[in-house]
């Protein structure tokens, strides 16, 4: 299967949780390739391995076996520092509960991933301001998270996820804490980002949200159950690659 350049490649990835003598295979020999510009939703029943997959893709967890490459770089052999550097450069996280840092203001929150890069770009602050503008919070740069609504906080989080121009944006139930109107606004923002060519993975358990993505990857018991092309997603995003 060829197409745009692969940004995240999983080969026969297994993640086993050991609890005493008991073993849980959260991911069981999973192979898949996510390509640049794709917009995926990841679905599946509770316990099917969605979060585990996202943690591996986001390099905050390591596979028990198998290979994982980000933009062609094998992750398995990296030490903790290298893995952290990789996260700060290639990964954008959007969490269900926003996870902004309370003592930092909007601009500082957006800048956090750059703060931890070994060699941060000179125009980082400029980028952060642009992104704040882009998500509609250009006027609130000095506000603390406490002073923002949930939807606004999630917008800041999205700006933060984009500031390092990551290979892939990972969102775990990104609209789970929002009312349906705000959730739709956030989803619309994802649609726009997709249209701009960002690579997005959205974990959700809601079929309606999952369908907005270009394609849906459905998991069951740590394996790929099915891959679905979504008409709605195609329509909304104005077509794939």
């Amino acid at each position: 299967m060829s197409g745009p350049e692969p940004v995240a490649e999983l080969r026969d990835v297994t993640r086993v949780y050991r609890m005493g003598s008991h073993e849980v295979r959260a991911l069981d020999g999973l192979s898949f390739t996510f390509r640049k510009g794709e917009y995926w939703s990841i679905m599946g029943s509770s316990g099917s391995g969605k979060s585990t997959l996202l943690n591996l893709l986001g390099c905050i967890d390591r596979a028990t076996s198998g290979s994982y490459k980000v933009r062609g770089q094998e992750v398995g052999g990296l030490d903790d520092d290298e893995l952290s550097e990789l996260r700060s450069r290639e990964i954008g996280f959007v969490f269900q509960s926003y996870n902004l840092i309370p003592q930092l203001d909007v601009l500082e929150n957006i800048l956090v991933p750059l703060f931890y890069q070994d060699d941060p770009p000179a125009d980082g602050e400029e980028r952060a301001r642009m992104l704040a503008e882009r998500v509609g919070l250009g006027a609130r740069l000095g506000h603390r998270p406490m002073e923002l609504s949930g939807g606004q906080q999630q917008r800041v989080a999205i700006a933060r996820a984009l500031v390092n121009d990551p290979a892939i944006v990972l969102a775990d139930e990104a609209t789970g804490n929002l009312d349906s109107k705000t959730a739709l606004e956030i989803l619309a923002l994802f649609d726009e980002l997709h249209a701009e060519g960002k690579t997005i993975l959205l974990v959700t358990h809601e079929a309606k949200i999952g369908e907005r993505a270009e394609r849906t990857l459905r998991l069951r018991d740590g394996r790929i159950d099915e891959v679905v092309e979504n008409r709605a997603g195609l329509t909304a995003a104005g077509g794939g690659a």
């Binding site: 700060s88 969490f95 003592q103 941060p120």
Partner: protein, 424 residues
């Protein structure tokens, strides 16, 4: 661009501490008291050692002082009050000390007379000391004006005297007493010099009332000629006669090492030649050593307090930082997910701890500078704050922050990001 610069991290730590102001302040109390005791201790210790050195200078650390002491009454009194009681140091003792003791550079004899001192209508009863020219050198007493007794005065039995400062002030308040004929007992002595005031030990001001009687100095040989060996004391109606050849022998030693040897030799010599306990041997150096020992104990107590409060302060800080780390597990998870390396987390928490402990340290330095002022005022002890003390205190408090912050920071850095993110 804001990278993980130290300044940014310090600001971050400061902001986090401001979120919990009261807790942060309480946390620093241990360090505050620890650091202030360190500074106070150093200031008091420094002042004490300075004071001790000054005492050595004033008393003459190389002197051994032999004194006549009136033995208990029943031993002396032959019978009636009219009889002459004879006791104390003799000219012979002086010769032995001066001429035969190894380690003695020179020995100054002092005789004390009970005589009225008068100039015109002004009368005093000072200590009238008959001594030799070397007295001022051995005791290190400086002259205010004129000269001290000379060798020529001794040879020629001249009628001269030297006044202590207070005596001079009292007898001749508006003019110099130099050249004045001072009446001592029944005879007249020309004043040839005035000494500077004797400053009570450890203070810069003469103690009030300490020297009301003052001192007047005569040549020893002149005094022998005019006043004889026997003194009459009028005490509570009865005439008491004493024969004391010398009241004091001040032996100046060649070195500090010689002091204990000379002291021992003096005690042995006096014990052999005196049938009664009519003498004492005073060794300023020994007194100083005792005083220094007391101050050393004082310093040990203070430094123990300092060490304990620093330890308690450090543990307090560690405790709070561990709580902070637990409380901020989620923040740690977020930062790690966003790319923070372990060292970034370590630095962040370490900086926070160090900011905390240095904050306590700075307050401690302020308090520590106040304590010596209070000690000077109330305890009348000299204190000296050297510039190194606050610097040392600063370094100590920063060190406390690092030592006791290391473990909480290490705990924070080694959290599993996934677990930390799941933390509520």
């Amino acid at each position: 661009m804001r990278s993980a610069s130290l300044l940014g991290t310090v600001r971050l730590g400061w902001n986090s501490l401001l979120l919990h102001k009261l807790r942060s302040v309480l946390t620093t109390l241990g360090v505050l008291f620890g650091v202030s005791s360190v500074i106070a201790m150093l200031a008091i210790g420094e002042g004490a050692s300075e004071e001790a050195q000054e005492q050595i200078r004033k008393l003459g650390s190389r002197n051994v002082i032999l004194r006549s002491v009136k033995p208990p009454e029943d031993l002396v009194r032959g019978a009636e009050s009219s009889r002459v009681s004879s006791y104390g140091l003799t000219a012979f003792d002086h010769q032995r000390v001066a001429q035969t003791f190894p380690g003695v550079r020179r020995a100054v004899p002092v005789r004390q007379l009970q005589q009225e001192v008068r100039l015109h209508d002004r009368v005093l009863n000072p200590r009238v000391l008959a001594t030799v020219p070397e007295y001022v050198d051995v005791t290190g007493r400086p002259l205010s004006e004129g000269r001290f007794i000379s060798a020529e005065d001794q040879q020629r039995f001249t009628n001269v005297c030297v006044l202590g400062y207070e005596v001079a002030r009292h007898l001749a308040p508006f003019e110099s007493p130099l050249g004045k004929r001072i009446k001592i007992g029944a005879d007249y002595f020309t004043c040839v010099g005035v000494l500077l005031p004797r400053v009570p030990l450890g203070t810069d001001q003469p103690a009030p009332g300490a020297d009301v009687t003052g001192e007047v100095f005569l040549p020893l040989e002149t005094a022998k000629r005019w006043f004889g060996e026997i003194q009459v004391k009028i005490r509570s109606g009865s005439r008491e006669m004493e024969e004391v050849q010398l009241h004091e022998i001040i032996a100046e030693c060649e070195s500090d090492e010689a002091v204990p040897l000379v002291a021992a030799a003096s005690r042995e010599m006096l014990a052999r030649n005196h049938t009664q306990q009519d003498y004492e041997v005073v060794v300023p150096l020994e007194q100083l050593l005792r005083a220094q020992e007391t101050k050393r104990i004082f310093t040990i107590v203070l430094s123990s307090i300092a060490a304990i409060s620093l330890l308690v302060g450090g543990i307090g800080i560690m405790n709070v930082m561990l709580a902070t780390v637990t409380e901020r597990t989620r923040e740690i998870g977020i930062r790690r997910a966003l790319g923070a390396k372990k060292r970034h987390i370590v630095t962040q928490f370490l900086v926070e701890t160090v900011v905390l402990s240095i904050g306590g340290g700075l307050l401690g330095i302020a308090l520590g500078l106040l304590i010596p002022i209070g000690v000077e005022y109330w305890a009348n002890m000299r204190t000296i704050v050297t510039p190194t003390a606050p610097i040392l205190a600063f370094v100590i408090s920063a060190g406390i922050g690092i030592v006791f912050g290391l473990y909480p920071a290490w705990r924070a850095a080694n959290m599993d990001p996934v677990e930390a993110l799941r933390h509520e």
